[in-house]
């Protein structure tokens, strides 16, 4: 019975971590172009000349 007091909060907080991660990903626009993400993984990195960062 005592183990439940530990395990239920543990399960919930793990779930919350996942939820927060998803909401963060959503907010940062990672779900805006699902098709593109699926295809970009197949490209080699474009070799870019030296540039100043964004």
């Amino acid at each position: 019975m005592n183990s439940l007091l530990l395990l239920i909060p543990a399960a919930l907080s793990l779930g919350l971590v996942g939820l927060v991660a998803f909401l963060w990903a959503l907010r940062s626009g990672q779900f805006d172009d699902l098709d593109g993400a699926a295809q970009r993984i197949l490209f080699d990195d474009v070799d870019r000349p030296d540039k100043k960062g964004d």
Binding site: D32, F43, D44, K52
Partner: protein, 795 residues
């Protein structure tokens, strides 16, 4: 789609199959070796010079779409560039011509090689490209030219014009779904332990589980249920009922009753059912919104095509680019050769040929001089003209057509989607059933009010239309995804449902059944030498007939010294004589020479008999086959055109259409469709011209090719890409198959309820039974819908 890293790593250009163009992949004519045109050869050179030639090995689609268009319209890109304080410029573009992932890679790589480009990124789903670079706005032209030279067509747009509100709705549903999913998983974890410990778990532990479940589920329901509660409230306020009403009532009652049970230390709590239900429904709602979002993005891309600027001449002689909608009546506008008229007006200076096909359906250009009226949508072909903008308000042709369209759509009436019709009958039935259950247990059998209420709520939970909420959207998402892959955009959510019931198909001629541009007819009597001479003269003109002539002999270089006489033809000084290429009168040919009234050019040389070049607006390659296929499906196929009767008769004969009419005005077309509908027919209209727009609106459902006038693409329910008519057949087949699947899904969902409701009424539905029944019915409905995605079925 698979790009092996191995293949990518290999270097050196490899020529593709000998019969296809090395750049665009189009089938080569017998006399060509590697490239179909000079543009493709240049593009291939650019790609190889940049070391990006692996593009040609990794791409998966080659259909000739990537052929650079030397006549691409010049747009003032700088007007669409936004700058920031750091000296960076940003341009948003819509890209046409992306076939596969390799195209995305190529565009991004080409931009990355430009030293000043900071970011060049494509959103594959919406086909939109964002380019950011260091430097002034006019660098835009250089970047755009680079991509245009590779065969991609780029159209600038203003992102602020695109609605952001709908995107917000999509995100809200996704957030709600995440919360509901989190809650469903955790509550289910606790519920399973309650079910598993049935009989052994002490009441204190069970109550703890229920309390924890309540703490997770109640906030989650309050948050994730908002889309449904809002829609249900709106419907109830308007005195209607929709699918969201039984959903909201079911979820709220289940949560309320479970809370009551928890507080009173009861044995049964339905928190898991309530949250899982919300999760599944949100999944369905998300699919629905996403499918609509794609359709909307497509429509927005089309709308941005209208975002063109016109060149206004100020009284002091200055020139400035002004968006077409901001031009005042009375202003003087300069229209360059090859440019589309952005506004209605009257020509004050200059003579030119005007392509009126989008407005009138006429395939031969008209001659325009001072005093001629021109309308937005026409193309100025041969010489620059100045024009005065006439009334911009209600007097314009466009406004007239818009009025006709409004009148036509009022006649269409409101189409009620199948799911809504089911919901209208379903919600009252379910609520009556729950009420009867309560009365039966309480009044007749004599159970306690508490037990009778529990049973009645169990009925509501089990009948909550989870599978019904998924039955239609899942099929629509699968269908629109399948169509999108074939270049068909569904703009309206109910288009497929309306399409499944059509029995009459009406085609327009120019640009719909035909390609919409003239092609040179073969003629044995003509020598190749004459044709080459004519083509080399024609090469310097933008007149569609001259372009067709040059297309027939693409290798001929333009001759120097060709003078253009707008409305008449071209001339070339040849010593003291003059070679003329142009109209019958221009070349001095007597009127009695044979003619069928079709478009023609004459080549006149001193001392030699004139040579005639005849042109025809050819049928789309598969037009006759598609007409045949539509008839085989029991559809009545008709042709309504604004062009001259003999031309229409000829095209109708070639396409195998018996019922046709020529010389139809826009109003006549719309009236014709209204008459067909008055006979009880369901009409599918396919058209592309401005003159078709009212008819497209008057039909039950309508389609336009992607080359159509902007206003048509905005009006049509379906827009298809490519130079074939096959999408018309494909979309009809998918629509009919979708309707079958939707009906099957509705029957499946309803039969599930029919099987489960008696159990619920008898009081046998425990929380476990409810959870299993709901989840499995949803999964079965989704599985059935996915059958549509299987290739080879329903096509």
């Amino acid at each position: 789609m698979s790009i092996a890293a191995q293949a990518l790593a290999a270097s050196g250009a490899v020529a593709p199959a000998a019969s296809a163009c090395a750049h665009c992949g189009a089938v080569l004519a017998a006399d060509r070796e590697r490239f179909c045109c000079a543009g493709c050869a240049a593009a291939y050179g650019i790609v190889c010079d940049l070391g990006l030639d692996r593009f040609y090995r990794s791409r998966t689609a080659q259909d000739g779409a990537l052929r650079p268009d030397p006549e691409a319209e010049a747009i003032d890109y700088a007007a669409y560039v936004t700058g920031d304080a750091a000296g960076h410029s940003t341009l948003h573009l819509m890209v046409e011509g992306i076939n596969c992932a390799a195209c995305v890679w190529l565009i991004e790589s080409v931009l990355a090689r430009e030293p000043d480009v900071i970011e060049g990124r494509i959103n594959v789903a919406t086909r939109r490209l964002v380019v950011r670079w260091e430097g002034p706005a006019w660098d835009a032209r250089r970047h755009v030219r680079r991509l245009a030279a590779l065969g991609f067509r780029l159209i600038p747009f203003d992102p602020r014009r695109l609605a952001a509100a709908e995107q917000g709705a999509e995100r809200e549903i996704l957030r709600s779904m995440a919360v509901a999913g989190f809650a469903a998983g955790n509550v289910m974890l606790l519920s399973v332990s309650v079910w598993a410990g049935h009989g052994e778990m002490g009441p204190a532990t069970r109550d703890l589980m229920h309390w924890v479940s309540a703490l997770i589920a109640l906030p989650a329901i309050a948050y994730a249920g908002r889309p449904f509660f809002r829609s249900a409230l709106e419907a109830l306020r308007a005195g209607r009922t929709n699918m969201d009403v039984p959903i909201s009532i079911g979820v709220l009652l289940a949560a309320g009753m479970s809370l009551f049970e928890t507080v009173t230390s009861g044995a049964t709590a339905y928190f898991d059912s309530a949250v899982t239900l919300l999760f599944f429904l949100l999944a369905g709602r998300y699919l629905d919104v996403r499918a609509r979002g794609r359709a909307r993005a497509a429509a927005e891309n089309l709308l941005t095509l209208a975002a063109k600027s016109v060149t206004v001449l100020d009284p002091d002689g200055g020139m400035r680019a002004v968006p077409a909608q901001a031009v005042m009546a009375g202003a003087t506008v300069l229209v360059a050769a090859g440019e589309r008229f952005g506004v209605d007006g009257r020509i004050i200076d200059g003579r030119s040929d005007v392509d009126t096909s989008l407005v009138t359906g006429e395939s031969v250009p008209a001659v325009a001089g001072p005093g001629s009226s021109v309308f937005a949508g026409m193309v100025n072909l041969t010489a620059p003209v100045r024009m005065t903008v006439t009334a911009t308000g209600e007097g314009t042709l466009l406004a007239e057509i818009v009025r006709l369209m409004e009148a036509a759509s009022r006649g269409r009436g409101r189409f009620v989607a199948l799911a809504d019709r089911v919901a209208r009958a379903y919600a009252p039935a379910v609520h009556a059933l729950a009420a009867l259950t309560f009365l039966g247990w309480y009044g007749i059998i004599g159970a306690s009010a508490h037990d009778a209420l529990l049973t009645a709520i169990a009925v509501l939970i089990i009948t909550c239309p989870c599978a019904l909420g998924l039955a239609v959207p899942v099929v629509q998402v699968v269908a629109s995804g399948r169509l999108l892959r074939n270049g068909i955009l569904l703009k309206s959510a109910t288009a497929l449902e309306r399409l499944a019931g059509v029995d009459t198909v009406v085609f327009d001629k120019t640009g719909t059944l035909t390609v919409g541009r003239p092609e040179l007819c073969a003629d044995q009597a003509r020598s190749a030498e004459d044709q080459c001479l004519a083509a080399s003269i024609a090469a310097s003109s933008r007149h569609p007939l001259a372009r067709a002539l040059h297309r027939a002999c693409p290798d001929t270089a333009p001759l120097a010294g060709v003078a253009e006489h707008p409305g008449r033809g071209l001339s070339l000084a040849d010593g003291s004589d003059e070679i003329r290429l142009g109209s019958r009168a221009f070349c001095g040919i007597a009127a009695e020479a044979a003619s069928d009234g079709g478009p023609e050019l004459w080549l006149g040389r001193p001392g030699r008999p004139p040579v005639r070049f005849e042109f025809t607006d050819a049928l789309r390659r598969d037009a006759a086959e598609i007409v045949q296929a539509l008839r085989a499906r029991g559809l009545d196929v008709r042709l309504l055109s604004g062009d001259r009767t003999p031309v229409v008769a000829d095209i109708a004969r070639q396409a195998g259409i018996d019922l046709w009419q020529g010389e139809c005005t826009p109003a006549r077309k719309a009236a014709e469709l209204a008459a067909l509908r008055a006979q009880g027919r369901h009409v599918f209209m396919v058209g592309d011209g401005l003159n078709d727009a009212p008819a497209l609106d008057a039909a039950d459902v309508s389609a336009s090719p992607a080359t159509a006038a902007d206003v048509c693409q905005t009006t049509a329910d379906i827009v298809f890409q490519g130079d074939r008519l096959a999408p018309v057949r494909e979309v009809l087949d998918v629509a009919r198959r979708s309707r079958r699947l939707v009906s099957q899904n509705l029957v499946l969902a309803l039969s599930y309820n029919l099987a489960a409701v008696p159990l619920a009424i008898l009081g046998y539905v425990t929380p476990l039974v409810a959870a299993v029944a709901m989840s499995s019915s949803s999964v079965i409905v989704i599985g059935n819908a996915l059958r549509l995605a299987r290739p080879g079925r329903g096509a």
